[in-house]
């Protein structure tokens, strides 16, 4: 009879790493989404081009390859990252590229009449974006941001390939040591699902908060 408590502890340690990666990766992705998404709407061609190149590159190459680059290739350029740093970097940049398109789409979805009201009230570009456009665009972004965060959570499993001891990595360790596949992989299945459900609930709450008063009526 196997004593499972130690192995479950191992998986829970891995769960913490997965949560850490998801939180930090999402934070980086969020920053990149706004930087690149608003960059694509810039009136400066150079900024637009830079943002477009970033988005197309990170959407167009595999997260797996990006992760290996961050961890194994960057050291040749003199940049050595810990597995956690490489994981956060690759996940954040990858998911941020998808998020950027969400930001751009939501900002563009705000009607011309809101921009015109801002001009008539003499609000400058920054004030327009900060006080009028983004607060209305945010509720439109949130559902897709929730999707992206869940994608990122599931994407964290690839970091086990650069020997980061995340949940999937620990499940494989447990499987190797006990010979049981069912129990460790059922455990992480449930844990991934629980985490994704928590993200959904969190985003749903944010959505309700952010869209307070915006009842879809023409204003």
């Amino acid at each position: 009879m196997i004593d499972w408590s130690g192995y479950i502890g191992l998986i829970l340690q891995g769960a913490l790493v997965t949560i850490e990666l998801t939180v930090m990766g999402s934070a980086l992705a969020l920053v990149m989404a706004f930087v690149a998404g608003l960059g694509r709407l810039s009136r400066f061609t150079a900024v637009r081009t830079l943002a477009t190149v970033y988005i197309e590159f990170f959407r167009g190459t595999s997260i797996f390859v990006q992760l290996f680059w961050a961890y194994f290739v960057l050291p040749f350029a003199g940049i050595t990252l810990t597995p956690l740093q490489a994981g956060v970097l690759a996940l954040g940049l990858n998911v941020g590229a998808y998020g950027a398109e969400v930001v751009r789409g939501a900002v563009r979805a705000i009607g011309r009449e809101q921009h015109e009201a801002c001009v008539a009230l003499n609000l400058g570009r920054y004030h327009r974006m900060r006080h009028v456009i983004l607060p209305q665009a945010l509720p439109l972004m949130l559902p897709t941001f929730g999707n992206n965060a869940i994608e990122l959570l599931k994407g964290t499993a690839v970091v086990s390939l650069i020997s980061l001891t995340d949940m999937t990595f620990q499940a494989q360790v447990v499987r190797a040591q006990t010979g049981s596949t069912l129990i460790p992989f059922t455990a992480i299945l449930v844990l991934y699902f629980a985490m994704a459900t928590a993200i959904s609930a969190g985003v749903g709450w944010l959505e309700r908060r952010a869209s307070r008063g915006l009842d879809g009526m023409r204003v």
Binding site: A120, N122, L123, P135, M217
Partner: protein, 261 residues
Amino acid sequence: MPSPIIRIDNIMKTYGPLTVLDGLSMNVMPGEKLALIGPSGSGKTTILRILMTLERINGGHIEVDGEQLYHIQKAGSLVSADERHLQKMREKIGMVFQHFNLFPHKCVLDNITLAPMLTKGVAKAAAETRAMELLDMVGMADKAKSMPAQLSGGQKQRVAIARALALSPKIMLFDEVTSALDPELVEEVLNVMRKLAAETDMTMLLVTHEMGFAHDFADRVLFFDKGRIVEEGKPDDIFRNPRQERTQSFLRKIIAAGHRV
């Protein structure tokens, strides 16, 4: 005789192959209440949008309050104005839109205080005091904390008027401000505008299909067709004795459609 507050000199406005304004010139005197009428597509709304810098002109010059709107002097020659100049000029002008364009995520009070606080650096308390005065004037003081979505069209438009007034513009532009309203809500907005005309010496330009209101409100009526002023004059002359055939046929159609004159 004072000089005009708005001088429009030979302006052109085209959208691709379509010419909307074709060498239009007109002056507006300080404090004058002007009604711009005419069939849709005649260019009357475009003039307001150009004055609000929502559309650029393709030729000609506009002077507002003694300064070029779209041009600045640089090294002795007149060049296109930059954003800074436009921002300075926009302080003189306010606009109320057909579809209100309130900020749906902000309550009535915040809709009004936002621009004065951000563009003029007015302190929150002072901005709110002024906003409440304006809301009182438009009869909306009890709705200060309501969200725009909770208001009727007429109420929204009255808030939009208060919002534009909060920046104390010298010139107010009203672009078909009652066209999107249910008929029974039109009068409450018109009443606010009557009050505004009576109590302030602001210059007002009004694009409207409410001929009765234009008649009572305006010092001068301009009839537009195909980007040109076909006829202008005192409201009595335009509405009772239009001289141009085009003005006559337009007014006949309007009356046939059930609008009172």
